[in-house]
């Protein structure tokens, strides 16, 4: 049944009912009335005519064509070398060869490579609690008693005067009296006045 309908539809696009042969007319009548078929035929032909007229009235935009032609030309200009597509392995091989060539051309300058070994201290921050013992200083006051030895007093012989030959003619000088000699601890001092008189007489 579906095949019949599809066939009828195809016939309706081209032929009116009376233009069909007897077999086709029979097929049409088995599915629909003559009016229904003619309606399909009329519809197809009316719309086909309309669509044809509509299509003939339309013209592509000339400005659009000009733009497209320019785009096409530009594409060809920009194309050429860059438009050529090569497999990926060829591109990789080309890069490798360029790198290799560069190495032999420019990469042969000998350079002394000095390896400097340097110990880099690594400081590890370890956070911990440290207890530090501070010694306690105790001050002890001690009294030391020391015996100082007593100083012996020496007597100076001042009363003995032995006149020398050269001084025989001279008047014997007056020796300072004991009063003139002041004595202190460990020292014997003659007063300046007595000493002067003594010097003059000599």
């Amino acid at each position: 049944m579906r095949e019949n309908i599809e066939s009828i539809n195809e016939w309706a696009e081209q032929f009116a009912y009376h233009e069909l042969d007897v077999d086709r007319q029979a097929t049409v009548l088995s599915e629909m009335s003559i009016d229904e078929y003619d309606e399909l035929h009329k519809t197809a032909s009316v719309f086909a005519r309309f669509l044809q007229e509509e299509a003939s009235d339309l013209e592509p935009n000339k400005e659009s064509l000009a733009v497209l032609q320019n785009a096409s030309k530009n594409k060809k200009k920009l194309g050429g070398f860059f438009a050529v597509r090569i497999p990926a392995y060829q591109a990789v091989a080309a890069c490798f060869l360029v790198a290799l060539g560069s190495y032999f051309l420019f990469g042969k300058t000998e350079t002394n490579t000095v390896v400097v070994e340097k110990d880099v201290p690594i400081y590890e921050v370890v956070r911990d609690t440290i207890y530090r013992e501070i010694p306690v200083v105790e001050y002890i006051t001690k009294t030391v008693t020391k015996k100082v030895p007593s100083i012996e007093r020496t007597s100076i012989p001042i009363s003995t005067y032995v006149p020398q030959e050269d001084y025989a003619l001279r008047e014997p000088s007056e020796t300072p009296s004991m009063n003139d000699i002041s004595k202190s601890f460990g020292n014997t001092v003659v007063s300046a006045e007595s000493l002067e008189r003594f010097k003059v007489k000599m």
Partner: protein, 175 residues
């Protein structure tokens, strides 16, 4: 198309001269008679062809492919912008259709256009490819990527719907 892929001069112009007008008419109907939109879509289709000619598989037939590209672009654009202009045209027709002078050819054409616009995109597509582009069922099936039986079925449904619209209009008096 192979020449276009190779960059041969004049290949694009040849393709354009062969297909531009026909594609424009097809796309025009696919976007419900919006000429500006149809021109834009046609431009985009050919621009895509220039920019990426390798997108076409040369082992396949070019004609179904280019129509498929145009149909898809048309459907996409139409879904995106069912313009106010079309709605306006439709409403204008509805007002005029109630006027007594129905024999006016222009009005009848508007009616036919409106009837076509009422079809779904899938039904309109096969109907236009069949009756405007004169393609075989096999070619249409290749373009819309459906079995031939589906194409025939859609064609029959479209014709019946249009016949119904035409019956209301009473074309016996006008056509």
């Amino acid at each position: 198309m192979v020449l276009l892929q190779k960059g041969t001069m004049g290949a694009f112009e040849e393709i354009y001269s062969r297909y531009a007008k026909r594609l424009l008419a097809f796309v025009f109907r696919m976007v419900n008679g919006n000429e500006a939109l149809a021109q834009d879509i046609l431009h985009d289709v050919f621009l895509k062809l220039i920019e990426n000619p390798k997108s076409f598989d040369t082992s396949r037939s070019f004609k179904p492919w280019i129509y498929q590209v145009a149909a898809n672009a048309g459907k996409k654009a139409f879904r995106k912008a069912e313009t106010e202009e079309i709605k306006e045209r439709h409403s204008t027709f509805m007002e005029k259709s109630h006027q007594p002078n129905l024999a006016d050819k222009k009005i009848f054409d508007i009616f036919l256009s409106s009837a076509l616009n009422k079809l779904t995109a899938e039904h309109r597509e096969v109907f236009v490819l069949k009756h405007q582009q004169h393609m075989s069922i096999k070619e249409i099936a290749a373009i819309v990527s459906t079995p031939e039986g589906t194409v025939k079925s859609r064609l029959h449904t479209a014709t019946k719907q249009l016949a119904k619209s035409l019956k209301h209009f009473n074309p016996k008096e006008t056509a």
